[in-house]
Amino acid sequence: MKIGVITFPGSLDDADARRAVRIAGGEPLALWHGDADLHSVDAVVIPGGFSYGDYLRAGAIARFAPVMGEVITAAKGGLPVLGICNGFQILTESHLLPGSMIQNDHRRFLCRDQVLRVENAATAWTNGFEADQEITVVLKNQDGQFVADRDTLDRLEGEGRVAFRYVGVNPNGSSRDIAGISNERGNVVGLMPHPEHAVEEGFGPGLDGRTVFTSVLEQVVSA
């Protein structure tokens, strides 16, 4: 069960994402942004960081990296793809997910343990959770405010495509407390907080993040 993790210039959490995959029981495979080949992986993680220095807009330049052409095609064909933080931004810039991220409403970089509610436990990356389960993972970002027009937000809500919602505090002004969304098919998920930093005892706020990675392994096995 191979899960590819893409490294762009400026990626920070690629090693943590590969470690999370390994701890969850999968085989991580490092993918390179300049290589237009997914090497037959069963799923892809686009990790957090500051791809291309976040120049232009967060995720904007990474969207045109050679590997992303392959990711976009494969995602449309049903390959599970998870974008975390900067990876979420890359997925919106790729138009695989709607909306966009702008700077936090308070304009500060934020790092905290964040409670989330799993709103949709039927996606490729959330099927190991119970619906409405509350989990705690790490949140750290500067451009984490999810925005979309009202029609898009209504459609996301109506189609059950809000995957994760902030609980207790909205850390960045995101529309309707949305922390993560999925595409229609549920194979592509983007979320702003970092489940890969909550997979191991003694590191991070707990082990809740591990279920994101075991979910996709389960999904791939049963597919």
Binding site: L56, T92, S100, I102, H106, R107, V147
Partner: protein
């Protein structure tokens, strides 16, 4: 060498935290008459020779694909930078 200017602004309904930060700083300089500030981006694209319609069409394509994100931003201006227009518009005083 010809140059083409592309100006991109956040859509009016999108919060502009950078503009707000600037708006908050101006009164500290004693400039308290500005009720809002929006911060945009200007790109200057250079080409060999004179700017042609083909260059402008390519610049518009660049503006709509990479240089702006249509979800949050508007391309407000794509035009040739004429020789009498400096790359950075100078600050002109009252009556200038």
């Amino acid at each position: 060498m010809g140059r083409i200017v592309v100006d991109v602004m956040l859509k009016p309904e999108i919060l502009d935290p950078q503009g707000q930060a600037v708006r908050g700083a101006l009164p500290r300089l004693g400039l308290d008459q500005f009720t809002d500030v929006r911060q945009g981006k200007r790109f200057v694209l250079s080409v060999d020779g004179e700017v042609t319609e083909t260059h402008l069409a390519s610049a518009r394509e660049a503006a709509e694909t990479l240089l702006s994100n249509p979800v949050i931003e508007d391309v407000v201006n794509v035009h040739e930078l004429t020789t009498d227009e400096p790359e950075q518009a100078p600050i002109t005083g009252a009556g200038a």
